[in-house]
């Protein structure tokens, strides 16, 4: 559905995106992973036709949308990172206005508002002003606005930032439901577990480049010679970071919580044993450890040397 070839974007001297290639198949949920400044938002801004690429090619259903952005606009739903709504208007008024921008009107618009408000689960408070909504409800309306014109492709730029777990689950369920109905989704997030939960394909970006891509399984298989070790300590862990990083076979260390860290280790089972022995010998107050197959977080850690939210 979307093909990007050698897509590049410069802002003055700053190269925000450095010649990336993407292929977003129809009917998939594709995750764009990367830390702040990785180039995710710039990439989706180019697909959304907000920015013109400095160079490269960008196609939607085979049509060049750099030359003719009009090919994608009617089929694209865009959910910005921030709440892009008129706070002093009601949810209904926002939906009505943005639906109108896509040419919906009259009974058709009313039907779509009813359908979308049902999808996002907010129909009871639709007449309230957005400024009186909770963070989760604002996020849901923010998504709803992008669904009014039944787009083929929806781009969601970190749609779950700063909301409660219940609203996050609702949004993730909504995304899966939309995908089940045939909608293609590009989903960017800081939260690895969200991407793991809903995305079939993943692009990992860092410093403006795609550093890995594929299905979750394929990405994890790339790290098959590595192991994730989850460590729990008695006290705060930050002060142990330097010591842990110096151990043999430790590739990266990331903080999981105040007293938990994750280690990406290379080598076979013996090397893992050596790491555990060394940590016990250091007497850092280790309470428990758990050796697992790497997940996306560890894949990212291996590729970039840092955690997603570091």
């Amino acid at each position: 559905m979307i093909i990007a070839e050698q897509l590049r974007k410069n802002f003055g001297p700053l190269e925000a995106v450095s010649g990336i290639n993407l292929e977003i198949p129809k009917g998939q949920i594709v995750g764009l992973l990367g830390p702040n400044g990785a180039g995710k938002s710039t990439t989706i801004s180019m697909i959304s036709t907000l920015y013109k690429p400095t160079s490269g090619k960008l196609y939607f259903e085979g049509k060049d949308i750099i030359k003719e952005p009009k090919w994608i606009k009617p089929h694209l739903g865009y959910v910005p990172q921030e709440i892009a709504l008129y706070q002093s208007l009601s949810g209904y008024e926002n939906l009505k206005y943005f639906g109108g921008l896509y040419g919906l009107s009259g009974g058709e618009l009313k039907k779509r508002i009813e359908a979308v408000s049902e999808i996002i689960g907010i129909n009871e408070r639709l007449k309230d002003k957005v400024e009186h909504y909770s963070g989760g409800m604002k996020r849901r309306i923010n998504i709803g606005v992008a669904l009014l014109h039944s787009p083929k492709l929806i781009i969601m730029d970190e749609p779950t930032v700063g909301i409660d777990p219940q609203s996050r689950n609702h949004i993730l369920e909504t995304v899966k439901r939309l995908n089940d109905e045939g909608m293609t989704v590009i989903y960017t997030s800081h939260y690895m577990e969200e991407v793991e939960a809903i995305c079939q394909n993943v692009y990992i970006m860092d410093h403006g480049k795609v550093i890995a891509s594929g299905t979750q399984e394929a990405l994890i298989d790339q790290s098959d010679s590595h192991t994730a070790i989850h460590l729990k300590f008695e006290g705060e862990v930050t002060s142990h970071f330097d010591a842990l990083k110096k151990l043999d076979n430790v590739m990266a260390v990331n903080r999981v919580s105040d007293n938990e860290v994750g280690i990406l280790a290379s080598g076979n089972g013996n090397s893992q044993k050596e790491i555990i022995k060394s940590i016990l010998a250091m007497d850092l107050g280790l309470v428990s450890f758990d050796v697992t197959r790497p997940n996306l977080e560890q894949v990212f850690l291996k590729l970039t040397g840092r955690g997603l939210r570091d």
Partner: protein, 445 residues
């Protein structure tokens, strides 16, 4: 599509109750306070020199003197007297112009100049003098009759004043009233009668009629009338009128300030981006905002004009001219508003809008005459006011209030339209450039 953008902007505007209160109620409050506080200084602030008065003579001295002689001869002909002649020392015109107007005390107050009716009207229109006194036909004849004969003829003197010289008209009315009061004074009548009568009558005849004349004078004072009028069609501008107009001129600038923030606000809220993704160009967003600002201005001005009419009893008339004035002013304000908005969006910060609201509006208020009438400021301000939008609006509405003709207001209409076109055009160019640089990423984001 433009209608959808406009309606959304109006809804957002109306949902901001606090902002609307400031836009609509604040000018009403300030108008009321300033009107009452400065009501005493209106009319002819700062004018201390003698009032320049045009005297228009609608009579023929020689003809009226001859007419009087004929009347007087008929009056006394039955008694076989000799034909009458007037003593040069008793010339009513000399009495009026030399004895009365030439008096030092009067000269300190009035500066009379004899003019034709046309010259006087032109001078009044051009604001080169403040008052015109029209002496009616029969002015000389009637005075002779009133002094010499037992008859009493009313004399109607008309005083026409320029509205900007409110006090001057009252002063002239008062001075001329004193003159006629004096004429009515029966002691002077008696003295004049004796002085004049002794020239023409025998003592017996003179004193035989004295009692009748005195009693008649006492019982039936001459009904000399002085009618104070303004220039036809022009009205006095009092403090309520002035401040209703001047506050209106100033507060519509805040509409431009409000508009000045709008595009960047939408950009920061990402609603502008959302519109762009939907296929909306910046130009259309700008057009919607322009119409919204026009609506806000119309609301503001209509509310203040209505308030001034109902509460402050300002007598607006010419509703069509008022409406046209509101529209032209609103177009100009909206033009300035979208221009500020375009610059603010390009700068990506609110500095320009802040400077406009917190500094420039007050400078414009001063040089445009919103705080203080420009008459009391140095002449320089009469020129500077044309650099302030509110100054032009104030001029237009003062003219409108005074029923100026359409063609007399063309310069103001032209300037407002020019401002609207130039600033809207500049805004459109800036916004187009911004849209292109934003899309192409030729600026650092």
């Amino acid at each position: 599509m433009l209608l959808k953008l406009y309606l959304k902007d109006v809804k957002v505007l109306l949902s901001d109750k606090k902002g609307l209160m400031i836009f609509i109620l604040m000018p009403m409050v300030l108008t009321t306070i300033l009107s009452f506080a400065l009501s005493g200084s209106f009319g002819e602030a700062g004018r201390m020199e003698p009032v320049r008065v045009a005297i228009v003579k609608n009579y023929d001295v020689a003809a009226e003197q001859a007419q009087f002689m004929e009347t007087a001869s008929q009056f006394i002909s039955g008694e076989g007297a000799e034909p009458m002649t007037l003593d040069e020392s008793f010339d009513m015109e000399k009495v009026f112009f030399e004895t009365f107007l030439g008096n030092d005390a009067v000269k300190a107050i009035l500066d009379p100049v004899v003019m034709t009716a046309e010259e006087a009207t032109k001078a009044l229109e051009n604001d080169t003098l403040g008052v015109v006194v029209t002496l009616p036909e029969g002015f000389i004849y009637d005075q002779y009759v009133n002094f010499i004969l037992p008859n009493r003829n009313p004399i109607d003197v008309q005083i026409t004043q320029h509205p900007d010289y409110g006090y001057s008209g009252q002063i002239v009315e008062s001075v001329f009233g004193s003159y006629f009061d004096t004429l009515n004074n029966r002691i002077i009548s008696k003295n004049v009668y004796l002085e004049v009568g002794s020239t023409y009558l025998t003592s017996e005849k003179l004193f035989a009629s004295m009692q009748d004349i005195l009693s008649e004078t006492e019982n039936e004072p001459v009904e000399n009338a002085i009618v104070l009028k303004n220039i036809p069609g022009k009205k006095v501008i009092n403090s309520f009128t002035y401040y209703a107009i001047s506050m209106m001129g100033m507060f519509i600038l805040y509409s431009a300030g409000y508009m000045g923030r709008e595009l960047l606000r939408e950009k920061k809220m990402l609603t502008l981006d959302r519109g762009v993704v939907a296929g909306i160009h910046y130009g259309r967003v700008l057009a919607g905002k322009y119409l919204m600002t026009t609506t806000l201005c119309v609301l503001q001005m209509s509310a203040l004009i209505g308030y001034a009419a109902l509460i402050l009893k300002v007598d607006w008339n010419e509703p069509v001219k008022i409406l046209v004035g509101i529209l032209f002013s609103s177009f100009a304000v909206s033009g300035v508003g979208v221009f500020i908005s375009a610059i603010t969006l390009t700068a990506d910060n609110y500095r320009v809008a802040n400077v406009f609201e917190n500094l420039l509006i007050h400078v414009f208020a001063l040089i445009g005459g919103s705080y203080i009438p420009l008459d009391v400021l140095p002449n320089l301000f009469q020129t500077l006011k044309y650099f302030a939008l509110n100054g032009i609006v104030i001029d237009l509405f003062l003219d409108t209030y005074q029923n100026a003709a359409w063609d007399a207001m063309l310069p103001e209409y032209g300037m407002l339209l020019g401002i609207a076109i130039v600033f809207t055009g500049l805004a459109a160019l800036i916004i187009r450039r911004k849209e292109v640089t934003e899309f192409e990423g030729t600026i650092t984001s």
